[in-house]
């Protein structure tokens, strides 16, 4: 965790209330997200820096982590809704049992975003990752835009932060974006139907 402090990572926040919306760090004060190379489920090496130019939601999770399972459907939704606007969800599994358990999970839960298999090196780069889920929002310059969510966060909170980074608010003002519907659904369940 000392490493997290050194990276300016620690917020230890975990709220589910839209009222607790957090402000993005100012551009000049943002720190670069440590780069890493991990493999995806096909064995292809993937670097975090490959996503430069995109807004990235970097989620450390595990198949055995209950609160992670609550967030994953949101991430599937975010990937579907915002991918065309230069947004990507990247999930890094911290399962010790590796692809043997992660691949069936990907299939069973129909994950539509990139999943990588984490290791201790990456764990240390990101502050030790003692608690899961831990999620970072990374801006288009590859920098941490917000302090991380350690533990289960709120869907609204993620939406607000993603919007502030990809500029969804402007799209919504201009008219007929599906993003408006999922935003409404997050605030008033059932509004999207």
């Amino acid at each position: 965790m000392a490493a997290a402090a050194g990276l300016g990572l620690c917020s230890c926040s975990s709220t589910s209330s839209a009222a607790n919306t957090r402000s993005a760090a100012n551009q000049a004060g943002r720190k670069a997200a440590p780069d890493f190379t991990l493999t995806d489920s096909t064995g292809k090496p993937v670097k975090l820096s490959d996503f430069k130019g995109k807004v990235v939601l970097l989620n450390f999770w595990a198949t055995w982590c209950g609160p992670c399972q609550i967030e994953i459907p949101w991430f599937i939704e975010f990937e579907q809704e915002f991918k065309s606007r230069g947004f990507e969800v990247v999930g890094v599994s911290m399962d010790d049992d590796g692809w043997k358990v992660v691949k069936p999970y990907i299939t069973e839960h129909k994950l539509n975003y990139r999943i990588l298999l984490g290791d201790e090196t990456v764990s240390q780069l990101y502050g030790g990752l003692d608690a899961l889920p831990t999620t970072f929002l990374i801006d288009r310059d590859g920098k941490f835009a917000f302090s991380p969510h350690i533990g289960l966060a709120g869907k609204n909170e993620y939406l607000s932060e993603i919007q502030s980074l990809i500029g969804t608010k402007q799209s919504v003002e201009n008219g007929t974006r599906r993003g408006l519907r999922i935003l409404a659904a997050a605030v008033v369940p059932g509004a999207a139907e």
Binding site: M1, C12, A62, C65, G66, P67, I70, D130, G151
Partner: protein, 149 residues
């Protein structure tokens, strides 16, 4: 105080630290006769606010609590875990252990086991969570002193 500064300042209090969420009381001595049986209770305590998966979690992806005896002069005939509690996390019902509970092991001493002092060694693997986060699986070494008569 800015948020970042507050975080660093309050780091030890606010951040989830890597520590055991579960403790095992030092086991009592097991006295057993050659060829006999004895039951050993391992007292386990889960920190307030946390739970660990039971020995039979409902979801195949969850990591069960598991006591495994690795070495020593006795044979572990059976291991009994308590009845789990059902708690709701998100939309799922989980079988978990909280608070203090006992794991009972029935040991059998072979008739050829050497008389005297020895120890049984084992490992207790668990995975703990609270209502908003989970902690990586951990293993505690167990050592039970044994006297064979």
């Amino acid at each position: 105080m800015g948020r970042a500064a507050a975080c660093v300042y309050w780091l030890p209090l606010l951040c989830p630290a890597q520590q055991n969420k579960l403790a095992v009381r030092p086991p009592q001595m097991v006295s057993i006769k050659q060829g006999g049986t004895a039951v050993e209770s391992l007292r386990v305590e889960v920190l307030d606010g946390f739970h660990v998966n039971s020995d039979k979690p409902k979801d195949e992806f969850l990591i069960p609590l598991r006591l495994t005896w690795m070495g020593g002069p006795l044979e572990a005939k059976s291991i009994s875990y308590p009845k789990p509690e059902e708690v709701k996390v998100g939309g799922d019902l989980l079988n978990v252990f909280t608070g203090a509970f006992d794991i009972k092991t029935e040991f059998h001493s072979p008739s050829t086991a050497p008389v005297g002092s020895a120890a049984m060694t084992g490992k207790l693997r668990y995975q703990a969570c609270n209502s908003s986060m989970c902690f990586r699986p951990a293993t505690i070494d167990i050592k039970v002193p044994v006297t064979i008569e």
